[in-house]
Structures are given as C-alpha cells and as structure tokens.
C-alpha cells in the first residue's frame, strides 16, 4: 500500500515534470508555481539579463486583467484573463511558445462575479494541465476543462451549485491535480469547502465542508508524509492536512494569519508555511492527527512575513520578498536569518528559481536575479521590463515568461528568433 501510494504520488509529479507533447528535454510549467508548485524548475539555459527590448523574443497583448501565472506545456503558453465592468467576461488563450501567435482563444461567461482586486479581476487562480487537458478555475466560481486544442470538455458552475463566493478580492486559489482528481480550495465568507472533481467528467469525487473557515486566497499543496500523501490547506488562522483521496481532515496546526494568501512549499521533509503581514513563518513536519501544533512545528520565525508573495526553497535556504520589498534568506532547517535586504518597490509576484538563480519580480516590473548557490547576498542582475508586473513568472524550455499588467512577454536568449510584437 505504501509503495502504491508513493508511486502514485511520484507518477503525478514525474508526469508533470517530464512529459511533453513534443518530447522536449526541458521542463514544462504546468500550473501555479511550476512543476512542483514551489517556483523551482530544473530547466536550464534561462536568460539572466533582459530589458524592454533586450532578449525579448515576443510580446503579445492580453485581454482584460489577471494575475494567474502563464502555464507552459510543449509548444503552447496558456493564460487566463477577465474583463468587463464586473469582470465576468472570461478568457483562456493559448499562444505559440516560439512565436507568440494566438493558437486558440476561448471566451466564456463567469457565473457569479464577486468584488475584485483591480489588477487581478476574476483571473487570479492559475490554470493547470496534465498535458492532455487544461483546467481553469476563475473567481466567478467556474471551473472549465479544455483539451489542449481549446475544445471545451466540461464545466462546473460551482458558485451556482454551492452558493456564490463572498470574496472582496475574488477567489484566487489555484487548483491542483492529484491522481485522477482536480482539487479546488473554496474558502470565502460564505460556506467554505474544498472539492475534488473528476478530471474526466467534472463530477464530484468528494467535497469536504469547512464551516469554521472564512476568506483566504491560498492555494492547496500536496506533501508526501510517511506512507501517505497529504493535501495541505492554509487559511483562517490555521493549516489543515487532508487525505486527498477522501477529503477527510487529518490534522491542524494553529497560529497562521486570519487571511492567508501564500502557498506552502515543501522540502527537507517539512512544510514551510508563511502568512501575514505581521504573521509567522512555520516549518512543520507533516503527519500525525488532530492538533499537531505542539508536536510537529520544527521552527517558527515572525520576522519578514508576507501577505501575498509565497516563499521559495532553494537547497538549504528559504527565501522570501515581503509585500513591501524586504527580502530575507533563512536557514531552511533552523529558521535562522542569514541575510535581510531591501530589494526595492513592492511585491505581489512570487519568486521563481532555475539554473541556480532566484528571480524576484517587483510591481514595477524589475526582476532581481540572485545567485542561489551562495549563502551570502549575491546580486546577478536587475532587469526592467518597463511594465508593471503582478503575476508570478513562469520558466520553461529555456525561456522566462512574464505576464505584465497588459502583455505576455517571452524572454529568451536570442538566436534565430527575431523580436515579434503585436503592438
């Protein structure tokens, strides 16, 4: 049983990590924060310097707004957006990875638009793909499943089925894939729940109500723990572990912020969880049952927590840029602060990492590149794209994809490619 579970878990990640429609050796970026939902990829050859004109392979305008990160699979880059007075006009667009040409574009209606943040609308949740299907969840409480040629396969208006989301910034949780299920965290002021949908049909596989939970924007995470895999949800002053096969709750850690946004990351057999502002970093050993606050918290640190950006784990070190632009680096095993630095400007995007580098993109569109192989603060470059950025970047197949407030920009080392722009 243990082997079966671990093999299943591994298969999910292995398929996400290495599958590609055109057999490219480089990694895809299949969903929120990449292959392992932690911002890190094994991709290589990623550029470390660029500007609004240097190393820009192509740039394409996006309809409406959104802060979902681009998803890259094979030769397609997939993006969601929303527009309209109530942001109820939804878009799912596939661009050609190499040229930026629009391959397909689906326009759909959102069922129940909520209040929203002016930069993200209803397109905060990042879509996710297994290479065969693309699953897109929107703040309107709608889930759509497409084939990778853009054909709609099924849809769920879960806001209509279980009540409209009450959310002042629109739902932002990015769904994840586990085995044959799509798992969506639906925490809001109304009746909160986490739901697992059948990837093939969209039907419920399980639904677990969270009556004690209110608004959060965090995304779920999966963590291997002994002979099982645990689904981890952050929100409402706590972190909950669930069985992703049944939706039954396993354990709880208390002490998080009231409203949680960052997504937990995993490594060294631990979960790293942050929420704020003025919150606490936690390193937690998964497993156990019931309230594991006193038994499973390895370390805590209440310095430099963020409200929106997630943290990143690179080797032995744990990095974070808070909303106000203060960067910090901690020892992942102890929580001890290694350095703290003012990065400059504010941050909404979460950092990404490849090729031994860390990329922190601020709201002005400047990406700070750090050397992740050094314990000390080693700045490699600062690259200004010349446009505001609120979405987390994607890295895939040697290219860096930046979603600015208005455009999707593909950055790469120029070889045969000429700069293309629809502007």
């Amino acid at each position: 049983m243990k082997h079966h579970i671990l093999r299943s878990f591994s298969l999910v990640f292995v398929s996400v990590l290495f599958s590609s429609a055109d057999n490219c050796s480089a990694e895809n970026w299949p969903g929120w924060r990449g292959p392992n939902r932690n911002g890190v990829t094994t991709d290589t050859g990623v550029p470390t310097t660029w500007s609004a004109s240097e190393n820009v392979l192509w740039k394409m305008p996006l309809p409406g707004i959104g802060t979902s990160n681009p998803v890259v699979w094979g030769d397609k880059v997939l993006v969601t957006a929303s527009e309209g007075r109530d942001q109820g006009e939804l878009h799912v667009i596939a661009f050609d990875r190499d040229t930026g040409r629009e391959r397909w574009h689906q326009r759909l209606w959102g069922t129940a638009p909520t209040l929203f943040y002016g930069r993200s609308g209803m397109a905060s949740p990042s879509p996710v793909t297994d290479g065969k299907r693309l699953f897109a969840f929107f703040g309107t409480g709608d889930v759509f499943c497409f084939d990778l040629d853009g054909g709609l396969l099924w849809q769920r208006a879960i806001a209509e089925e279980y009540g409209p989301f009450e959310n002042r910034f629109a739902a932002a949780s990015s769904p994840l894939l586990f085995e044959d299920k799509l798992i969506v965290q639906c925490d809001h002021y109304g009746a909160s729940y986490v739901i697992a949908l059948d990837q093939q049909t969209g039907a419920n596989r399980w639904k677990s109500d969270r009556p004690e939970v209110w608004l959060s924007w965090s995304s779920p995470q999966l963590v291997p723990s002994g002979d099982r895999v645990e689904l981890v949800l952050s929100g409402s002053e706590k972190l909950d572990g669930y069985d992703p096969r049944t939706g039954s709750r396993l354990w709880t850690v208390r002490g998080l912020a009231r409203e949680c946004v960052p997504t937990p990351v995993i490594g060294h057999g631990m979960l790293f969880v942050v929420s704020g502002p003025n919150g606490t970093h936690f390193a937690i050993k998964p497993g156990g049952s019931g309230d594991i606050t006193d038994s499973h918290v390895v370390w805590k640190n209440d310095k430099g927590t963020s409200f929106v950006p997630s943290a990143i784990l690179a080797g032995e070190r744990y990095y974070l840029a808070d909303d106000k632009g203060i960067g910090s680096c901690m020892d992942a095993r102890t929580g001890k602060l290694i350095w703290k630095k003012r990065f400059g400007d504010k941050f909404t995007a979460s950092p990404v990492s490849a090729d031994g580098k860390l990329f922190f993109t601020n709201e002005s569109g400047s990406t700070l590149v750090l050397d992740a192989t050094q314990a000390s603060y080693e700045e490699v470059a600062r690259n200004d794209i010349g446009e505001e950025v609120y979405a987390s970047p994607a890295i895939s197949q040697g290219k860096f994809f930046l979603r600015t407030a208005t455009n999707l920009v593909c950055i790469g080392k120029k070889e045969r490619n000429a700069v293309q722009s629809a502007e």
Binding site: R85, G88, Q106, R107, L108, W109, T111, L115, D142, F144, G151, L152, L153, W154, Q155, R156, A157, E160, E161, R168, Y189, L197, D198, T201, G202, A203, N204, W214, R258, P277, N278
Partner: protein, 382 residues
C-alpha cells in the same frame, strides 16, 4: 421504371437539401447542468452546431436566453466559432435586424444581448451610439446609458446650457440604480440648484432608535438574545457593557449613503451588541427587498419575524452586501436590526469598525416609497 428512379433521385436530393434543423442539438445542450452532467453529449452537439453558418445564429441566440449558466457557455462556444469564421468572409449575410431586435429586448438575459451588441459594433458601427442612450430603463445597459446622460450633462455645463444640463442630470438620476451614479447625479443636480434626494431614491433607512452596547464577550453576540429581541420598549433601561445603564436614543443619520457609525453613536467598544429600530409606513402591501451590510454582522427582524442573519465577523460594511426578499404589509411596519461588534483584530492597525447600512428597495434596486413613523417613542413590540 425511369419515372420511379427519377422520383427516388428527387426524394434523395430533397433530403440532401433539407435545411439543417439545430433544434435537437440545442435541446441536447440545454440538458447539461450541475456536476458536469451532459458534457459529453453537449460537446458532440456543439461540434455539429459549430459547423453551421450564420443561419443558426437566431435560434442559437434564443437558446442562449437561459438561466442555465452551463448551457449558456456551451452555446457561446458555438457562437464565437461561427462568428469568428464568418467575419472573415465578405459575402456573409448577417441577420442584422434580428440582432438589433434581440439586443433591444430587455426581457431577455443580458449577457447574450451584450454579446450581440459587440458584434453589431462590427456590422453596423453607428448602431451603438444612437441606441445606447435609449437604454435608461434596461437593467443590462442602464449603467452605460446613465453614464452617457451624466457625460451629456457635464458637456452642457461646459457649454453654459443649464437647462440641458439639468434635464440630462435629472434623467440620469431617475434612471440610476448604482449608488455611485445616484450620488453623482444628485450632487450635479444640487450644484445647479435642483433638489435630488439620494437617500429616498435608494430607499436608505436613516431614521433610527439606537441602543447599546450590550456586553457580548468574544463572538457570542450573534447567538445571545438581549432584551430588545424579546420586546422593543423605547422607554426601557437596560444593563449594558461594564454595568452601565443604557437606553434608546434617537438618531437620524446624515451620511450620504446612510451608513451608521455605531462607534460614534453608542461608543467605541469591542465584543458588544447594539440594536437599531425603526418604523415605516407604506401605502400598500408589496414585495420588496431588504439590502444590508454591517461590520461585524447584522440580523434583521421585520414585524417581529427574523428575515436575515449571518454569523460572520470582520466583514466590512459594503453596499447591498446581503439581499433578502421581504413582504411589507400595508401601513406600519417595524424593523429591528442587531449589529454585533467582535473582538479587536490581533493586528492593532486593523480598524475596529462597528457599522450598519440598510435599505428597502424593489428587485430592480429602486428604493421603495415609505415614510418614517418615528415621530415619537412608538415602539411597543418586537
């Protein structure tokens, strides 16, 4: 024999020429619904429909006039595919008159009407500008139409044409349902010396008797029943927070949108409950809505019956946050509202708001006509 073969050929050609009937495929999509039900069938049907030309757009748009959100999106994928393909063909004969009638039919669902208007922008670019200003009574396009009237009024002011400006602002004010547009139009009318009562227009309740704070540790206030819930007696004295004696006090709220600040009226505090009470008179029995928002939360009793209550905390008071249908009786109606105040957020920088906003309106958002009965201490019942 030759004749028989010819007849067979005619029947065959007639069959081949039979116009495509989209009804079965439209019906198949209409059956899609919750839990992803009907998706496989809907996909097959939409693929067939999408092969057709603009002839099927009228029945497709009629089918899109549905409350089934799932079916509507399946239909939309067909519409988008046909429109994108046909826009590339110069010879396409679009059913433009049908589109105009469809867009103008305010009884239909708004979203597909808006879709058609966007297509008309391409097919008849002049249509929108002459049509949109006429949509003041159209729930789907009212916001834009009111915006145009406000802009026309502003232009008239610049042209020093006060008569036109007043007419445009009045038109905007009467049609507006959005609270920002209502207050904007009212302010513009007032700047030209015209009366405009945004409070009445929106049906905001601003005339209250208030009492509190009652002591409610942590978040116990929502479930705890204090004396006013059993009986409203405006002469009564109660034991309030900290043992202080509290009594009903009259208050008329002056905020533009009727938002009561209970920290000001009942005292800045935490972990407490306050009550607001009013009596209104309406000329006839009527269906209406109570629309309210409160920080931290509120419960509402109409004529002694609880009609709304939501156990939520640290919400913020937002306009029309909660909408509940009610039935008002002819004559006097009583409204009692309980407003809870929870503990201070652990971040001391988070404001400790305690507030209420409540209005009575029709389903369209227009305030109902009522008169306050609070001329003296009249409360005598729950």
């Amino acid at each position: 024999m030759k004749c028989f073969v010819a007849c067979l050929m005619l029947v065959g050609f007639a069959w081949l020429d039979a116009p495509y009937d989209p009804a079965p495929h439209l019906t198949a999509i209409a059956k899609s619904g919750p839990q992803g039900e009907g998706s496989a069938t809907a996909k097959l049907a939409r693929d067939e429909l999408a092969k057709q030309g603009v002839d099927i757009l009228p029945p497709l748009l009629v089918a899109m006039d549905t409350s089934n959100a799932v079916a509507a999106n399946w239909y939309r994928t067909v519409y988008e595919e046909i429109v994108a393909r046909e826009l590339k063909r110069a010879e396409t004969k679009w059913p433009i008159e049908f589109f105009k009638e469809y867009a103008s039919d305010a009884k239909r669902v708004g979203k597909p009407r808006r879709l058609v208007l966007t297509l008309l922008d391409k097919l008849d670019p002049a249509f929108r500008d002459q049509w949109l200003p006429t949509r003041l009574d159209d729930a789907e396009f009212r916001y834009e139409a009111v915006g145009l009237a406000l802009a026309a009024g502003d232009q008239a002011v610049k042209n020093k044409d006060d008569a036109t400006a007043k007419a445009e602002f009045r038109k905007a004010f009467e049609a507006a349902r959005d609270s920002t547009q209502v207050t904007q139009a009212a302010a513009k009318l007032k700047s030209l010396g015209e009366a405009a009562d945004a409070v009445s227009h929106l049906g905001l309740v601003v005339d209250w008797w208030l009492v509190g704070p009652f002591d409610a540790p942590q978040k116990t206030g929502f479930a705890t029943v204090f004396e006013p819930e059993s009986k409203v007696d405006l002469e009564a004295k109660y034991r309030g927070q900290g043992g202080a004696e509290i009594a009903w006090k009259r208050h008329r709220e002056a905020d533009t949108l009727g938002q009561l600040d209970l920290n000001k009226q009942l005292g800045a505090t935490r972990e407490a409950v306050g009550y607001a009470y009013t009596e209104i008179e309406v000329p006839r029995e009527q269906a209406a809505q109570v629309r309210c928002g409160a920080d931290d939360n509120c419960s509402v009793w109409l004529n002694g019956q609880k009609v709304f209550g939501r156990d939520q905390w640290l919400n913020g008071t937002r306009f029309d946050r909660f909408i509940t249908p009610i039935q008002l009786k002819a004559g006097r109606n009583t409204l009692l509202v309980k407003i809870c105040q929870g503990p201070q957020h652990k971040d001391p920088e988070v404001p400790n708001n305690w507030s209420l906003q409540l209005r009575l309106c029709d389903a369209d958002g227009r305030g109902i006509v009522f008169q306050s009965r609070l001329t003296e201490k009249t409360g005598s019942e729950k």
